[in-house]
Subunit: 192 residues, 2 copies
Amino acid sequence: MRNAEASRERILDAAMEEFSTYGIAGARVDRIAKSAGCNKNLIYIYFESKEILFTTVLQKNLERAFEEIPFSPDRLPEFAVNVFDFAMTHSDVMRLLMWANLEQKTDNPPQRESAHEEKIRQIGEAQSAGRIASTLPPPFLLTAIMTIATSWASTNPFGPSLNPEAAKDRDALRASVAGAVERLIRTDHPTD
Amino acid sequence: MRNAEASRERILDAAMEEFSTYGIAGARVDRIAKSAGCNKNLIYIYFESKEILFTTVLQKNLERAFEEIPFSPDRLPEFAVNVFDFAMTHSDVMRLLMWANLEQKTDNPPQRESAHEEKIRQIGEAQSAGRIASTLPPPFLLTAIMTIATSWASTNPFGPSLNPEAAKDRDALRASVAGAVERLIRTDHPTD
DNA sequence: TATATATAACTAACCGGTTAGTTATAATAT
DNA sequence: ATATTATAACTAACCGGTTAGTTATATATA
């Protein structure tokens, strides 16, 4: 049982669980070590500090999310549904993202920023071409779509915790997400 | 300078600052005491524990929010704008709410739950009367409105941190919030 | 009004347990 | 042999909560 790569992975998995549950300040390195079945110092050999371990876990999981969810400005309801499914299936990643946003003062990784910028650019293009409504500015529209799509993850204080009943019917929620986004972009008036 | 009520208030103010910045696990009772200009033990005399102090601060601030923001199912865009203004002006309260949702496992206070229920009921009524569109189920609609309205507070990982430029123009955002909500409820097709 | 008494408001110092991070040492593979 | 992988043992600082005691203020009494 001497395998650096495997140990590293076990630590990352354990850290994911710990950080998503307790956040950075609340996480305990001892607990991560125990849960990963390794010595605490091994964690400090592979990852310099608790904070760096957190950032590593977050980055890895966000990358996966970006790869999994394709984007097209002409299929925004579909995109929203994909985000919705990801958020509902990976509530731990959503929690990680929230912790990072609350506890860390660091900027977003440049790749995430530029991916966001690119989406905004494409939305603007689709608006100019009249394929979707131009009423809402692209940055606002994208933010609205992301927040609506993730609003039924447990991280949202206005989501499932306030609506335990509605939160059960995932298919209905998925349809509503698509419907809401469709409403935000429809061009029923030629002037839109 | 011996005034129980004033001391209590100073502690609550200091705690608000500390908890909204660091969360429950990250908050330091010593720091709260120092910032409130009192002895740490005084905090434990007035509030039993760190956790109870947090809950007290949260409750107090949420109550204020409920009082300040009136609700009418026939003025949903206006309601959303009021929520938006509150969220932008009181980002510390928003952070408190996020920390509570992430760190605490306790249910929402019953008054908050019932206030939410009542809003949903009124929305359903307005839908049945045909005053707003019936496409989206009331619980989904209310959650969508709340999340859109608060999506430009710093607590949203898809909000200002990804759109620093757009976040500056508060008036434009306010108008977009109203516009988005209007789109979610408009009845342009008689079948809606 | 001056003095004794009771109580409310507050504090300094401490404690047991915890926590992130280190050091020294052992085992394994090549 | 020697570099890599791993662990046990350790430490300094921290932290929530407590204890034992002091100071201010109100009330009662003579």
